[in-house]
Each structure stands twice: as C-alpha cells, then as structure tokens.
C-alpha cells in the first residue's frame, strides 16, 4: 500500500492537496485538503453591507464577478429589495458570459493536458490532422498548412526551452491514448481558445467597466447606464450590436470547436465514463431568473436535488437545511466541533492544528483542511455543471434532455454513464452550448426594453440606511460556473455583523464531516486506476474534472529554476523513508494561519 500525495495540484486556481491510498493499482481512499485560509468573512464584519460585494468578489481572481453577484443578492434579500428588469438582464448576461468563458478555459487550459500529450502533437501529420478536423466540424481553421504552422510554433517553443504552460504535463505517460493527429488538433484549439476567451470577455469589460473584478454592481441593481438615445451610455444600440457579435462568435466557437473536441477526445477515453463516479447526490440552487429572484420555478437553470443517483425524483431545495461541519477543518465552533452550524449562524474561528511544514502526510483522522464540510440535510452533495445538467434533465427540460440524449447516443451509453469523470466534462460542454444559445435572448430583451423607453436599472428605494430595519438577515444564492454558491449576511445597526460564504469548491473539495462522510472529490477518487504511482495522472483527471477553484494567494517568480509546478511531491510507502523537499506553499500557509 502506498500513500500518494499531490501537493500542490496544478492547473487549478488556488491551493489544493490530495492524499490518496493506493492498493493494487487503484485508489482505495482519498483525502482532499484546502491548504489556504480565506478569511473574507472576518474582513467583512463591521462594514457597510452596500459595499460588501466589492470585497467579496476579491475572494477569487478567476471567478471574480460571481462573488459580487452572490453578495448583492444576499443584501437585497436581507433588505427586501427587488431589482429592475434591466438589472436582471445585465446580471444574467454577465453571469452567462462568465459561465461560457470559464468552461472553455477549463477544458482547454486547465484540463485538456490531462488527456492531450503535447509532445505527441509534434509527431502528427498535418494533412491527416486536417482530415480529422474536417470530419468532426465545419470550423474553417482546418487546413494542413494551418496545422503545420501550429506545429512549428510549438516546436519553436520547445526548442527555446520555454515549454512554460506545457511543462507540467506527464508527457509519455501510458494513460495518454490519443493518436498524434488528435493531439495536434487539441493543441491548435488550445491556442485558439486563448484568443476566444480574450475576445469574448470584452462583454465583461464593457458591462463591468473592467475585467476581472467588475465594478458596476449596486445593491438594488446595476450602475451601468442604459439609454438608447445617448451615445455615451454604456448600453446603447451600438453596444447591443457589439454584445451580439461577441455572443455569436462565442457560439460558433463552442459549437464548432469546444463541443466537437470534447466528443472526439471522449471517444478515445470511453472507459472514463466508468471512473470518478462520486457521491451520487447532486444539488443546484438554480439560476438565471426569468423574472423575480423569488420565483425559482422560473429560473433558466432549475433548482433541485437528486439523491442516490435517482433521476426519477427531483427534491426541492430548502436553503435552511445547509449547514457546515468543522470536525476535520482548521476551525473551532463555540458549540463544539462535532456539531454542524447553519451559515446564518456560522462562525469563522481559524485554529490551525496541522503539522508544521514541510510535512509528509496530514493526520487525516484529525483536522486536515482549511475548507469546512458543507452538508445539505446532513448529506454531502456534488455541485457544478454535472449536477445542474442532471437536475435539468430529471426536471424534464426539453433542450437539456435533447442535447444529453444526443451525446449519450453517440457513445451508446445510458444516462448513468454521466456519473463519471467524463460525465462532468461532457456536462460542462453541454451547459456552455445551452448558455451560449441563451445569451442573444437576454441581449434582445435588453434591447427591447431600451427601445420601449424602459431604462431603469437601479432601485434606490432602500439605498438610504435610515430606511433599513434595526436588524435583518438574508442570503444570496447563485449558480457560479463551478457550482452552487451562497452568501449569507446578517445586518445590525446598518453594519454587517456576520457574513458567511459557502462556495462550490467547498461543497466539492471539502473534507469528511463528523459522521465520516467523504466530500465529493474524496468519494470520486475511489477506485481510480493508477498506472504509475510516481505520476498519478489519473487522480488529476478526476480532480480536474470538477474544475477546482480555491482562492489565490502568493505570486513570486522563482529565479533558481526550482520547479514548484511538479505535481507529485511524495510517493510515500508506509515506512516513510522518502524525504520531502520543502513545501513553500505549506510554509506560507502556516505563516498565514497563525
């Protein structure tokens, strides 16, 4: 038996450590540890609730805007504010664009290299690559000359020793199964996706004033000026044309590049429909209101819960049943660490009790993560695109059913195949496809409102704190690209007295709870085959399939050539003879946690 540790897990945002127990070439148990303390809850105490979103969105530099939205929704919920229709539409467009961009970046830039061997792309025949490309898509950039050019640029990068973003791959690993031509195709699209995401996210720069970290939210709506007769207004007919152009280009990319690539690559890795299954419980708060935020039944993404892989019954969601454990987390509760606490009464009392870095192994019987363990009705839940897709499918959403069935038919697979590593990847692509189709509709509604003289975008009725009750509490729920996100706020005497955020990656990457129930990553890793414990690429495939996002921190260029991007810091036999290199991340965390 070997303990295989991956720390840090790269090609994610933030700090994640995975420890797995490997027996006979398979993972038999797993522990997921967030090695970075977030602490935004403590920063927000005592602040004006109207500015909470500005701070809260700094939880992450990648998800950026999602925390701003959850925060304004929480405060609006607490104060009983309804936002104008234009604000709803602008928020939907921003969140929809974030969803599509994030999914594209995840697939190409954070996940594809688990499946694509860049070094093999150099061996591909550009003419055959062209044939392959044309057989799966109409996308015009598909000539042999084009692929030859890409291949030459990758060759030049390799020759210059600056492999940079390709340097952390496990090139030559036996688990890579794509032919050279499919590798070259994927590498070409990796590069094209860089341009696509850069172009598309201009929607955020325009509607948010800047990107990342949009600046145009307001409690009560948005501060984005809208006026059909005003050339200087942020939203005017000219801008509507720009949004439509950006959305149309994104749609073409998703439908002609992203989706065909996912299907093509999945075709070479069908066995991964059989790994990474996980908890089998799925939750989505739902999102993209069609009218009031208080009518979840009208959301574009339905709200619901699936239990025990049963697609025949969608359970309702009661936000009051969300609670968090800290039994295995570096916090303490005033009510004792065996109890769970609802976020409305949540506590953030950090207390690091882990080993002093560098360390070989965490004591996983004790506390071992900076993430808490959120539970719904005392049950662990998987959140994210797969949860949303399954819930929409089980809720009878015709468009989702049609798309999912088409994908399943292509692989001759039953819906249960979706409970897997590949299922998560496919669900993300399906979702991007559905959202990118929806964007023009929201843009058209905004245009229509403007044409009819409806330019209201902020409700200022309760802007003045004098109009607020002495004390109130509320929550804001959202479907961020990575899954269900909730912010809880308690306001007293015009100030925040308590703030709690439960983010998607806490649901998925959290540790065990007081009952020993595993979190979603921990459950999904069980039974994963491991060809080479020195290079546990297969573990990364499943962990990356969740699109991990843990808040970001240190940024220093290392001039000595030490590689911290290496995935595996230790493959430890129980005797523990292997010595570990110093772990700068853990060191930083220890200093930060004091």
């Amino acid at each position: 038996m070997a303990r295989v540790v991956i720390d840090p897990v790269t090609r994610i945002e933030g700090h994640l450590r995975i420890e797995t127990e490997v027996n006979g070439g398979r993972v038999t148990d797993a522990w997921s540890s967030g090695t970075m303390f977030r602490g935004i809850e403590l920063i927000l105490r005592g602040r004006d609730p109207r500015e909470a979103w500005i701070w809260a969105q700094r939880i992450c530099g990648v998800c950026t805007t999602v925390h701003a939205l959850a925060s304004v929704r929480a405060v609006e919920n607490a104060l009983g504010i309804n936002i104008p229709d234009n604000a709803r539409l602008v928020r939907n467009i921003i969140a929809g664009a974030q969803n599509v961009q994030d999914h594209v970046i995840h697939f190409y830039h954070l996940h594809a290299l688990d499946w694509v061997d860049v070094t093999l792309a150099l061996k591909a025949d550009p003419a055959k690559t062209s044939q392959l490309a044309q057989s799966i898509s109409e996308w015009p950039k598909s000539s042999a000359t084009y692929f030859k050019g890409v291949q030459d640029r990758v060759k030049a990068l390799v020759a210059s020793r600056q492999l940079s973003l390709f340097s952390s791959g496990d090139w030559g690993h036996p688990a890579y199964q794509l032919p050279p031509e499919a590798n070259l195709l994927a590498v070409a699209h990796y590069i094209e996706a860089l341009d696509m995401q850069r172009d598309f996210i201009r929607i955020h720069a325009v509607l948010g004033g800047k990107n990342p970290h949009l600046q145009t939210y307001l409690v009560g709506g948005m501060s984005t000026a809208i006026d059909g007769n005003e050339p200087e207004a942020v939203i005017n007919p000219e801008r509507i044309t720009l949004f439509n152009e950006l959305a149309a280009r994104a749609k073409t990319f998703v439908q002609q590049v992203y989706v065909p690539d996912v299907l093509a690559i999945a075709g070479f890795y069908k066995e991964w429909f059989g790994y990474g299954e996980g908890l089998g419980n799925f939750m989505a708060y739902g999102d993209f209101p069609s009218g009031s935020i208080n009518d979840p039944a009208d959301y574009f993404f339905p709200r619901g819960i699936l239990m025990g892989r049963d697609l025949s019954k969608v359970h309702p969601v009661d936000p009051g049943k969300v609670a968090e454990y800290v039994t295995h987390s570096w916090y303490e509760y005033s009510v004792g660490d065996q109890a769970s606490r609802r976020p409305a009464e949540g506590e953030t009392n950090p207390k690091y009790s882990g080993p002093k870095p560098p360390y070989q192994q965490l004591d996983t019987d004790a506390k071992y993560s900076w993430l808490k363990s959120p539970r719904y009705d005392d049950k662990p839940m998987e959140v994210g695109p797969l949860a949303r897709t399954l819930i929409a499918y089980a809720s009878g959403d015709a468009q989702v059913q049609k798309t999912v069935n088409a994908v399943l038919a292509k692989f001759n697979a039953p819906p249960t195949a979706l409970y897997s590593t590949l299922g998560r990847i496919a669900a993300r692509a399906i979702e991007a496809d559905i959202v990118v189709e929806k964007l023009p509709e929201w843009i058209a509604q905004l245009d229509d409102n403007m044409a009819h003289g409806d330019i209201r975008i902020h409700n200022g009725d309760k802007w003045d704190p004098e109009s607020w009750p002495k004390s109130c509490a509320g929550f804001g729920l959202e479907e961020a690209p990575r899954g269900s996100l909730g912010h809880w706020v308690e306001i007293e005497n015009k100030k925040i007295v308590n703030y709690q955020a439960i983010v998607p990656s806490t649901w998925n990457a959290g540790p065990r709870d007081a009952h020993g129930q595993r979190g979603a990553y921990e459950a999904a890793l069980i039974n994963t085959p491991i060809a080479d414990p020195e290079r546990p690429l297969e573990v990364l495939r499943t962990v990356h399939s969740f699109d991990p996002c843990l808040a970001c921190a240190v940024h220093v260029v290392d001039g000595k050539g030490r590689s911290y991007g290496r995935n595996v810091v230790a493959v430890r036999e129980p005797e523990g003879s292997t010595s570990l290199p110093p772990d700068p991340v853990a060191e930083a965390v220890l200093q930060g946690g004091r």
Binding site: P8, T10, R11, I12, E13, G14, H15, G61, V62, I105, H109, L110, R153, V154, A156, L157, S160, R161, Q162, L163, S164, L165, F166, S167, S168, Y190, I191, L194, D195, Q197, R198, I201, R202, A205, N211, P212, C552, A553, V554, H555, V556, V557, D558, G559, K560, G561, R562, S563, Y564, G565, P584, V585, A588, Q591, G592
Partner: protein, 173 residues
C-alpha cells in the same frame, strides 16, 4: 503594428515583499521622467487575464519579486535566454507570468523584447508593508525601470526619426 512599450507590475499587495513590483509601478506612475508613450499595467496576481492588456505590446518590462536565492533586497535582472530559466511559476496558480508569455508566443503575439526586473524578497507571508531590506531596494528598482524604458523609448524615437527624416527631406526636396 506600431512599437509599444509597457511596464507590467506583478505581485500580491497583501504578501509583504511580494508587493514590490506593484509598489514600484505606483512610483513609476508618479515619476515625471517616465516617457509618455509607456503604458503601465497593474498585473497583480493575474495570469491569462493579462493577454488582453498586453496585446500589441512590443517591448515589455515586467517587475516582480524574484526568488533567486540571493540576499534579500538584491536587485535582479533577466533578459532573453535567461528568462527561459525562470520556472513555470512558483505561484501555484499554474497560469503565471511565464505561462502568459508562453501563451503569447504560441499565438504569435509575444512582445519582441522582454526584460524581467526584480528584487529578492525576504518575507512573503501576510503583510502589507515591505520589510526594511526590500523597502530600501525599491528606489533602485524604480531607477532601473526608468533607465530601461528611457533606453527603449529613445531607441524607438531614433528609429522613427530615421524613417521620418528621410521622408521629410524627400518631401521638401
């Protein structure tokens, strides 16, 4: 594409000496010697989000805390081949500075010339003030940055003059 110079400040303002690149950028902004054509870009801890602001930049000066194992406060400079020895990123967001440059090379949009200037940090734990050693090196870092962009700027003016002057004489002849 017309030549364009940019200075990119990198680092986390809440991580003690890691902030040095960002703080240097602030000082550059206030420095009257900074050539007007030079763009200043706050990179913070961003990775690929910087593709957009860096689009079209032909000469890039990046300023950051650099862990080269030198004495804290040591001024460091990397250029050309040496940048290749900078590893992918110590930052565990995989998509760090060198990944950004790699991505730009792949899409054939990388600056023609890149210089990385930095200071060896002492402490990179939580903290919003530089340590005394690194704080003392900040002025020298700013001076080096000014010299670098002035040099580039005058080279560019010269090359423009070389193109423009014969044109003017051709027209006036």
């Amino acid at each position: 594409m017309p030549p364009r110079i940019a200075v990119l400040g990198l680092g986390n303002l809440m991580r003690t000496d890691d902030a040095v690149g960002m703080l240097a950028l602030e000082q550059l902004r206030a420095d009257p010697r900074l050539p007007r054509s030079v763009s200043l870009i706050e990179g913070g801890t961003l990775g690929l989000d910087l593709l957009y602001p860096l689009d079209g930049i032909t000469r890039l000066l990046a300023i950051d805390a650099i862990d080269a194992g030198a004495a804290p406060g040591t001024l460091l400079r990397f250029e050309g081949e040496d940048i290749a020895d900078l590893p992918i990123s110590k930052s565990v967001h995989l998509l760090g500075f060198s990944d950004l440059i790699g991505a730009m090379r792949l899409s054939a949009s990388a600056p023609h010339q890149i210089v990385v200037l930095g200071v060896q940090p002492d402490v990179i734990a939580w903290g919003t003030q530089l340590t005394a050693t690194v704080g003392a090196a900040l002025a020298a870092l700013v001076e080096s940055a000014i010299r670098q962009v002035q040099e580039w700027s005058s080279e560019m003016e010269q090359s423009q003059t070389e193109v423009v002057l014969p044109l003017i004489s051709a027209i006036t002849a």
